[in-house]
């Protein structure tokens, strides 16, 4: 702890205080500022920085500095208040941890299931709702209702439904003469159960965004397609999807980045690891390192790996969107 504070000061000086000092050295902006006297320009500048100081301090303390510290800590180890530089050792520890690949597998599984269910379902719902001339407001409110629940209410409610003995879902399966499931208690169904609960709680947000995007699709395109005798599916494929592509790809990226950071649903539904470690995600592993084993170095190293992987997704998105234009 004590040794890391040295690096604080350095980081802080770099980000927070450089702006007022720089203001004296560099000339002001053109036009109106050029006409103003030096003193007035300085005053105006100081005033502007006074407006920014609250946000800059908050960014500095809670965003910029932790970013720098994240990288530094990945290469450090703190034992009994003594911090030492250990180089790549933390990354090696994390890489060789038997839980490393299962955590990534579980995270990928969550992301993939969430894409199949959570990405497709809201889009289909939005397309169907957009066709309705009646009851649209009612359906819209219904879809959005679960989003307004505090996450704990939705998640614990689903935990109750998933109970193999008295849960609602097994009653329904029993009623339909289908085989009952162990849901969260079996390693083969635990993750999909988590995704179903998560999708129920969040589908409304994406649905509303898609609905708004669908309403911007020009109607003439559909009319032209009708004249050409296009069918329903070909209209969706050739008009609806291309017309909403910017929103779709943005949501896709946002969803991948969000689901790769899954923690809350897994933690509340299965306690984190789940049966035979079938639901422990990467963020859960970070949490374990930091707050169970007090190994902040390993936690940071794993965080750094995550940053690189997710950064890859962002880069991929940037390239895809540039190519499609």
């Amino acid at each position: 702890m004590a040794a890391t504070t040295v690096s604080h000061n350095k980081a802080k000086r770099g980000s927070g205080q450089s702006s007022p000092r720089g203001s004296r050295r560099r000339p002001g902006l053109p036009d109106e500022n050029a006409r103003a006297g030096f003193g007035r320009r300085l005053r105006r500048d100081l005033q502007a920085h006074a407006f920014m100081i609250g946000a800059v301090l908050c960014f500095g303390f809670f965003s910029w500095y932790p970013m720098v510290r994240e990288v530094i800590m990945s290469f450090q180890k703190t034992k009994r208040g003594e911090t030492t530089w250990v180089g790549w050792k933390n990354l090696e520890t994390v890489w060789n941890d038997p839980g490393f690949w299962p955590a990534w597998r579980n995270t990928m599984q969550f992301t993939l299931y969430a894409l199949v269910i959570g990405f497709a379902v809201p889009f289909v719902i939005a397309i169907v709702l957009n066709e309705f001339r009646h009851a649209q407001a009612y359906l819209r409110i219904l879809v959005y209702l679960p989003v307004m629940l505090p996450p704990v209410a939705g998640v614990l409610l689903f935990k109750y439904f998933y109970n193999p003995e008295y849960g609602l879902f097994n009653h329904i399966l029993h009623f339909l003469h289908l085989p009952e499931q162990a849901w969260l208690d079996s390693s083969s169904t635990a993750m999909i159960s988590v995704v179903i609960a998560a999708t129920w709680m969040s589908a409304g947000g994406a649905t509303l965004i898609y609905l708004a995007a669908l309403q911007n699709v020009p109607g003439e395109l559909y009319e032209a397609a009708d004249l050409d005798g296009a069918g329903l599916l070909s209209k969706i494929w050739h008009i609806t999807i291309p017309q909403t592509r910017p929103v779709l790809s943005l949501m896709l990226l946002l969803q991948i980045v969000a689901t790769m950071q899954e923690f809350t649903n897994v933690y509340l539904l299965t306690g984190g690891a789940g049966p035979e470690n079938s639901t422990g995600t990467v963020v859960y592993m970070v949490y374990q390192y930091a707050f169970r084993y007090d190994s902040f170095g390993s936690a940071s190293a794993l965080g750094l790996i995550m940053l690189v992987v997710l950064g890859g997704f962002s880069g991929l998105y940037a390239r895809l969107s540039r190519n499609s234009d």
Binding site: L29, M67, F161, L310
Partner: protein
């Protein structure tokens, strides 16, 4: 803005819908959707509210009862006092509206300064703020926690104080982005007119910019409150004391050993305030959320 015009052309033409076969299909699909959606989205909520009225045995009964046999409103009372829901709800509101106030003051001021006062290094600071959008929040949890544990330079421990929740929410690149872009669209003429009349930047912000910015302030406010309302891992780490926890963490940590029917009643109560707010302001909330996320 032509969004809500009734005759907007969609996938299926009005002519196709007016044919007898089209009408039949339309009404079948519509009624099926209404039934399925009601079951899927309202059903669990009904199960939650009715479960709160059931006795401890009835809630675990197999097969279950659709209606509580002998409704017991007392369960709600037990849940209210045993899980300290009033306290937890108050904490949640306290954190949410505190975070909102700090974000409105600091982020609006900063975005205004960057957009309209254009200080030296303003663009660099803007770039650094927007760069934080690229960093996944979960990556920073650990260093952020250590920062809050011992604030650099000041050496203050914020754990267990509301500051640990309020201040980090200000560091929100998305707010800065939304606000700055909105302020950019306010004509420069207005600003110079105010300056000629001798208005200070603060006065201009208060009397000219803010009244024009109501829509974007609404979006930022909804996001600010919803984010605190939805957050889990961060408040769990920085509020270890159950008396200070928001509802998400409090119910979970107090739920151990509580009978299932009491827990369900507690969940129903905790869901009530936001559901009520949502039903009252659903138009504003839904349009605000979509507008904000689309433009992002």
């Amino acid at each position: 803005m032509a969004a809500n015009q009734p005759q907007q052309r969609t996938l299926i033409s009005a002519a196709a819908l007016n044919r007898p076969r089209g009408k039949l299909i339309y009404w079948t699909v519509l009624s099926l959707t209404v039934v399925v959606f009601t079951l899927v989205f309202l059903g669990p909520l009904y199960w939650m509210v009715s479960g709160g009225f059931k006795s401890a045995q009835e809630v675990l009964q197999n097969p279950p009862t659709l209606f509580p046999k002998d409704p017991k409103p007392g369960t709600y009372k037990t849940a209210w006092s045993q899980l300290k829901i009033a306290r937890l709800l108050f904490n949640t509101m306290y954190y949410a509206f505190g975070a909102l106030a700090f974000q409105l003051v600091f982020d609006v001021a900063a975005a205004y300064a960057i957009s309209k006062l254009r200080p030296v290094l303003g663009n660099l600071i803007l770039g650094m703020m927007l760069a934080t959008l690229m960093i996944p929040a979960a990556v920073l949890i650990v260093p952020q926690y250590l920062t809050v544990l011992d604030l650099p330079l000041l050496h203050i421990n914020l754990i267990g104080t509301p500051w640990a929740i309020w201040l980090p929410t200000v560091a929100n690149g998305f707010n800065i982005f939304l606000l700055k872009r909105f302020f950019d669209s306010i004509p420069e003429d207005l600003m110079s007119a105010a300056a000629i009349d001798g208005a200070s930047p603060l006065r201009t912000l208060w009397s000219i910019v803010l009244p024009m910015s109501r829509p974007i302030l609404g979006v930022v406010s909804i996001f600010a409150v919803v984010n605190v309302w939805k957050d889990f891992l961060w408040p769990m780490l920085v509020q270890p004391d159950t008396d200070k926890q928001p509802i998400n963490i409090g119910i979970n940590s107090l739920s151990q050993g509580v009978p299932q029917n009491v827990l369900i009643a507690a969940l129903a109560i905790s869901a009530l305030p936001t559901i009520a707010i949502f039903l009252l302001f659903q138009r504003n909330i839904m349009s605000g959320l979509t507008a904000g996320s689309l433009k992002g």
